[in-house]
Symmetry: C2
Subunit: 218 residues, 2 copies
Amino acid sequence: MQIAILVYDHMTALDAVGPYEVLSRVPGAETIVVGAQRGPVRCDTGSLAVVADAALEDVTCPDVVVVPGWSGSTQDAALRPGPIQTWLSAVDEHTTWTASVGAGALVLASAGVLAGRRATTHWLALDRLAELGVVTAEASVVFDGKYVSAAGVAAGIDLGLALAARLADEQTAKAIQLLLAYDPHPPFDCGSVDGAPADIVSSMRAVRDFIVDGAPAA
Amino acid sequence: MQIAILVYDHMTALDAVGPYEVLSRVPGAETIVVGAQRGPVRCDTGSLAVVADAALEDVTCPDVVVVPGWSGSTQDAALRPGPIQTWLSAVDEHTTWTASVGAGALVLASAGVLAGRRATTHWLALDRLAELGVVTAEASVVFDGKYVSAAGVAAGIDLGLALAARLADEQTAKAIQLLLAYDPHPPFDCGSVDGAPADIVSSMRAVRDFIVDGAPAA
């Protein structure tokens, strides 16, 4: 079983590393980090680079593909037709599971993969995802057939565990959760629009252009 | 304000990337990924490499240092006296905050930094941390003066947010939490010893040697 984690410049590191940390511990899984070219890609906040060990052409039939999101604009390469979109469209023909975290759903949708499917994305990107022909759902992790999407950055960990239970079994997923000691205690009740103070939500909406209209990142 | 994220071979990726994702968004903070040498380090499960942009000697006075944990044995370089321990001991003299995630507390303790301090670590490593002269505490995030430690892999996100509230202010930390849509919904109640099924806990204890006695990683 091969699990391909896609990486690309300006991606959000935790979107990829959350699922990676879980899925790379599934027994029998070979996890591979794949990018447009082999070599480092630099993440959105600029101070972290991760290495693509494989180029797109090296990975032709992954069983699972995981697509992280990014911070940037809709002018970014992440949403333009290009090698990543071509690759996603091709490998999706063969996958058992196709997964996205945060704005990664926009990347999948831009590759035509999610048309008519139910999926979630970062709360600031839900309307953009709908414009791309996806039936949006506001939940932490959303399954629709073989497609699974996580809403937030850290929800990629939740997605990883939900997927691990299906790739292996529930006992294995629970063991991985305990091994990672994943017992979250967010210090604030501020991880969703429902819980967050209104002034923070409105200031975020004011900079939502960081995802949808090409303004500078927040 | 300079925030140094230490990276090293066999580290647990999420231990570093969780706090990174939060702290790199603190206004005015320069985050730098530092390793024994510049260049890639390969994480514990083997399929992900992250890049150290700076070598230890390039970073002499960080305001904050974050030390991730690793999977391996107590024979690993992570716990042997060496350049990393020398560096940690030196930079700790100048930090405003010195932080660890998971087994990263063992790395700090092996550098003599946490002697007599209260700290937490991965649940399988608590007794080893006590042997290193640390007063162990079983909580998600533990503060003792300028020292802050997170118990689990994903608790590094909680640590990052708690630290962001102190480096900036609570409003900023809340905004980062909402930007990351950090609203965790673990699919299982299995992230701590208290919630996990007894058979999983006992099998984990059986392989606890992955941290403390030099047996192969789980």
